[in-house]
Amino acid sequence: MPEEQEIILKIENLSRTYTQGKIPVHALRCACISVRKGELLAIMGPSGSGKSTLLALVGTLEKASGGTAVLDGTDLTKVPEKLLPRVRREKIGFVFQHYNLIPTLSALENVELAMRFSGVPKKERKQRAKVLLEELGLGERLDHKPTELSGGEQQRVSIARALANNPALILADEPTGEVDSKTRDSIIRIFKELSTKGQTIIVVTHDPEVAKECTRVLRITDGMIKD
């Protein structure tokens, strides 16, 4: 299926060098990847190999040292600082290992928050947040605070949040890193379903069980990754 689809993300020679004191750390060296729409791409590699760095660059959370990353027609490395929040809102959804929900807000409000920044009217965003959470089986948990939810439930809330603005790309950094195998399976199932509906997802994982379910697996070592 992916072959017929257009390429939604094209990474070329993307690199990132940190300078730790005087010693340069090449966290990412000339990554070249093309991702098609609807792909569920797994990225695997040892700890410290640059997986999170790759996601941070594609997610515009950090500046690249070189190369390009064109997402949905926009070269992310050329977007001026001021317009980055807008790109994040409109094109990218994040799912983190530690869920990263806002502890003072309920499940519903956490999902809503993503749409608040994009100026969706209150009624509409409430409605959409509710629908998303219900689709992920959290219809009974709308008003629960993160501390009142299990890890799996929190991760589903954060997936709903990532989906809120209909992003071109979802970036998930070890989304199953902290949950048991049953919850892991349900998260994979959600991702697969989203992917068949045309949602592009990149998943960083250490878990072969997760990788096995993905449409493609790429390996990264020492900051080097190629298609």
């Binding site: 994040r88 809102r89 003072t104 993503a114």
Partner: protein, 371 residues
């Protein structure tokens, strides 16, 4: 956004409450000190307006030097441009030896009493008339303190006086004045024909400043204080008083502001990761600033409202308590309330500025890695 701000404040109840109390305490000080200054200011302005038309003439050697007697009055009257002149004997009320409460006995020639008191109006009775001796016109505070009416007896220096007139409340020094005939006052205090001042009323269309100089030159042994000079003198001492009271209030409020800054820095540091999340979700720098500045300003607002409520309450209680002793010390004015409120907001916002800047400048990835 407001709901998020409120939620952040209520989520850290004790800390927010302490911060708000810090601001409230500062604003409380601003209100109390400001009310004192406002009261002083009002008395000052009103006293100025009731005495501003007259030139004070006193002995060259000063008010307490003596040497100014009744016969100088006719000299002053002879100066061209003087419409009216009268001597006035001023002493503090016997009961009040130290002069602390500002009660004063004013001996004025009976026939000039209405001129001397102008523009203060009578609330009841009449001014002094020629031929009056042991008769008295009292200011409004004196009337209230001694529960006097026209016809009541009033004791001064072991002599009984009959109250013939009661003055309207003015908010000026006249509220604490006891006005008796000059001759009676001179006898009562055994001062012969001395007077404390001579007041000269300038003709209309005569420049008071010029006339003041002319009197000084033509009447030997006198110096004068024109309304303008008096105002300048009084305004200086008033300024010093205001600066002292207001700056002590402001100091307290600034301490309240540091309190907010500390809380905000703490809460921003604690929420580093949260700001990272918000940024990853596409929050604009503007949103982050709004959240943090809004939180600080809200605490300023709550602290301000609380401080004003407590301040106004205490001023009210103190004034009621002091009413018995007839001293009015505090005056709450609308402008004082507005200033206090604006100041509270300003302090909140200003002390939120740096923490907000810190929060907005954080790199999202760094913030997300923060534990």
């Amino acid at each position: 956004m407001l709901d998020l701000i409120i939620r952040n404040i209520t989520n850290r109840k004790v800390r927010s409450a302490l911060t708000i109390c810090g601001i409230a305490l500062g604003i409380f000080a601003v209100i109390v000190m400001g009310a004192m200054s406002e009261n002083f200011h009002q008395t000052f302005e009103r006293s100025m307006s009731v005495t501003s038309d007259k030139i004070r003439v006193f002995a060259e050697s000063g008010v307490f030097g003596g040497g100014l007697t009744d016969n100088k009055v006719s000299d002053v009257l002879r100066v061209a441009g003087v419409k009216d002149a009268y001597g006035l004997l001023m002493t503090t009320f016997d009961e009040d030896k130290m002069g602390m409460t500002g009660k004063q006995i004013l001996g004025v020639p009976p026939e000039k009493s209405s001129v001397a008191l102008y523009p203060v109006e009578l609330k009841a009775g009449r001014y002094l008339n020629p031929g009056d001796s042991y008769h008295v016109v009292v200011g409004n505070n004196i009337k209230r303190e001694y529960e006097l009416q026209v016809g009541s007896k009033f004791e001064i220096h072991d002599k009984y006086f009959t109250v013939v007139g009661i003055l309207d409340y003015t908010g000026s020094i006249f509220d604490n004045a006891v006005i008796i005939p000059l001759k009676t006052a001179q006898d009562l205090y055994n001062v012969g024909d001395s007077v404390s001042y001579i007041f000269a009323v300038p003709d209309e269309r005569v420049d008071a400043e010029m006339l003041s100089k002319r009197i000084e030159l033509s009447v030997k042994g006198t110096s004068t204080l024109s309304p303008g000079e008096l105002e300048v003198q009084a305004r200086q001492s008033f300024m010093i008083f205001s600066v002292i009271t207001i700056s002590s209030g402001l100091l307290a409020a600034i301490i309240g502001g540091l309190c907010v800054m500390n809380t905000m820095l703490m809460s921003v540091a604690e929420r580093t990761r949260e700001f990272g999340i918000l940024k990853a979700m596409g929050a604009e720098t503007r949103d982050i600033l709004l959240l943090t500045l809004g939180e600080a300003s809200c605490m300023g607002l709550f602290g301000g409202v609380l401080g004003i409520l407590v301040g106004v309450g205490s001023v009210f209680i103190m004034n009621t308590w002091l009413a018995k002793t007839r001293i009015v010390l505090f005056l709450i004015t609308p402008r004082l309330l507005v200033i206090a409120m604006l100041f509270a907001l300003l302090i909140g916002a200003l002390s939120g500025l740096y923490p907000a800047y810190r929060a907005s400048k954080m790199s999202p990835m760094e913030a997300l890695k923060h534990a």
